[in-house]
Symmetry: C4
Amino acid sequence: MSTRTPEEQLAEHRTEVEGLREQVCDLHAELPRWNLVTWTSGNVSARVPGTDLMVIKPSGVSYDDLRPEDIVVCDLHGRRVRGRHNPSSDTEAHAYVYRERADVGGVVHTHSPYATAWAARGEAIPCAVTAMADEFGGDVPVGPFALIGGDDIGRGVVATLRDHRSPAVLMRGHGVFTIGGDARAAVKAAVMCEDVARTVHFARQGGPVQRLPQEHIDALHDRYQNVYGQ
Amino acid sequence: MSTRTPEEQLAEHRTEVEGLREQVCDLHAELPRWNLVTWTSGNVSARVPGTDLMVIKPSGVSYDDLRPEDIVVCDLHGRRVRGRHNPSSDTEAHAYVYRERADVGGVVHTHSPYATAWAARGEAIPCAVTAMADEFGGDVPVGPFALIGGDDIGRGVVATLRDHRSPAVLMRGHGVFTIGGDARAAVKAAVMCEDVARTVHFARQGGPVQRLPQEHIDALHDRYQNVYGQ
Amino acid sequence: MSTRTPEEQLAEHRTEVEGLREQVCDLHAELPRWNLVTWTSGNVSARVPGTDLMVIKPSGVSYDDLRPEDIVVCDLHGRRVRGRHNPSSDTEAHAYVYRERADVGGVVHTHSPYATAWAARGEAIPCAVTAMADEFGGDVPVGPFALIGGDDIGRGVVATLRDHRSPAVLMRGHGVFTIGGDARAAVKAAVMCEDVARTVHFARQGGPVQRLPQEHIDALHDRYQNVYGQ
Amino acid sequence: MSTRTPEEQLAEHRTEVEGLREQVCDLHAELPRWNLVTWTSGNVSARVPGTDLMVIKPSGVSYDDLRPEDIVVCDLHGRRVRGRHNPSSDTEAHAYVYRERADVGGVVHTHSPYATAWAARGEAIPCAVTAMADEFGGDVPVGPFALIGGDDIGRGVVATLRDHRSPAVLMRGHGVFTIGGDARAAVKAAVMCEDVARTVHFARQGGPVQRLPQEHIDALHDRYQNVYGQ
């Protein structure tokens, strides 16, 4: 943690902060596009690298109306440092993740319908297709039920993900949290989580579904993390 | 109720009425956007504050073609006061709600598919996820089967909602009615009703789903109504 | 039937024909919009009033590329009278309906997924919601399996619809045919057929669904056909 | 196979290659349009006729950002001959198909959700509707589970399709591969495969579904392949 005040950090990193506000604003358009959100129900945040600051969606603002200057700058306890709006009511959960996981640069929260259906039953999504092995390296796990406000949700997210390769966790009776090295990676994890939640849901409607053998999951995950992309 | 005639009230509140016609026209675009309607099957209305007037969608006009001047002005018995078109065939139900519930400023009716599926079975949507506790404060209840025409539907809506925190009711064998302090809030309730109807539908397809404990529902609902947003 | 040749009828009704080609071209955009079709798999036709002519989609042309001049003019045996393209491979079925049902001015055929699922099982959609009573006046019935080519499909459509109020029939193992007083009414019936097929499908996934009582269906259908709209 | 080097073949066929890059780039827009892909998860390739070259999507590039010059030119062992980007991680599977099937000019791979659900169970889609007989001439078969990298996937695709009329195969625990005389035909097969996977999925949710009689499948397939379209 920096010894400077949040305001001093903001002044020093003004350009990076404005760039991240724009990027995080734009990434919110991915949420309705991939059917992850209804009305204003999901949010994206990003850590400001090298600081104790994060940027996050304002509470209750629609995705259509969101502009970069609406994105709220907070410290890593969720206190607003800059911005006209109140930050997302999920800010404390995002902030807790950033405090506890130095490797995390982006967090996404949604109630995407297929993934939230698994969360409502408190059932992990079994790793039944290769795309799931690629992205999640195994099942998408279930975290505890936790009430909003304070650190309970963040604590549940961090504790659950510690024991899994998965960048996504299904918070019981609630919805999805995903993490990534940056905000874009966390958004991708949220998009893919809904995709596999849906595919495995459909698969199970037609009969039993087998988990892939562990050695195949390991091989696929290793390859995807190291070879895929540019 | 005002002692003035509807026409006098309209003359006095011309500016507010025109503003509401525009707002209600625009809000209809949310219905296809969130997959709540097919062809011309849903409608939004708003009370004109301080009068015995309401504005509502014309009957059988497509959402694409709808312009502010098409929105019909009615009195609170559903009689047309201004507008070229016949008002929605659901106007009497909307009007009844406004007469009986002085706190309601907006009403929405849809046959949104997941919610209507619960209505077809006559089954309340159990409060199984936090988003549902937030918005509905419990189950989305079922109202009676009622035929269109006269006050039966409105009476069923009002009687059912009286006993619930939910701004949405599933009218048996028919569809959804939602209420709000204004038309936008009623539209949001209709959008969220379909969202939770869908999520809990998916959840139940995979196995049993537990209702959240009542104390959690209470805590979530209280927080959401008082803290969320700007 | 007219005693003039199709070419003479076309010459006499040139303006009406061009207007219908434009209207039918535009109506095809409703098919992808309401998720009734995949690739090029559905088609709309219209009778040219006062003639033995019809206009219909060309075979295998994508909805994006369709222009009014691509719409094919045929006689009521499905023979092309005007147009560069071959008419839809379903033309004989449309033509049969126009020959047998003087009251029909528009026909639509789709493989819309929920309705076709009922057709695959050979199961009528039970009239379980008021929207279905309104538009269909009862169940959406199932017609026989019939191979494409010749009059078999058209015969099955006409024979099945003769005994029902429904403007839609589920052809077993195939898809949906709808009829209307004009092409727009037939398109509306196709859109509403998929809508109710979906809603009742969802409803039944959660448990048993009751058909509405016959006297309610009768009352709703009567009112909708006579009161709704402008 | 040509005796010229890939670079020589590229120089000779420059105009065709650039045309195919543009066509294949454009065809990728059909994948999100028909809900076949999530994020960057599907790819289209085309053989360059008369050469040992193919063009294919770059790895991990989003569909929005894809431009013709991003499409990678490879030889038929999947080695890049031209292009800034790495080719799709599925390139070896595409290349194997082109080496073994001289009649194939286009290959598509997706994880489209309904088809992948059948693949996750390892269950063929039964030919239960006429549209499926038309396009696939029978069931959509299941191929073996195979790990990415090397020829295993390609070998599974080719071995499975050898025994079927279907241009689509469900690779167990993975997703869909389709082939066609050109890239557009392979894309159409991928679109139709998801369509029938969805329709038969819905049909089976409501009860047992019968396969069409073989003689009807044969008659429909023959007609569709020889009569349909322009």
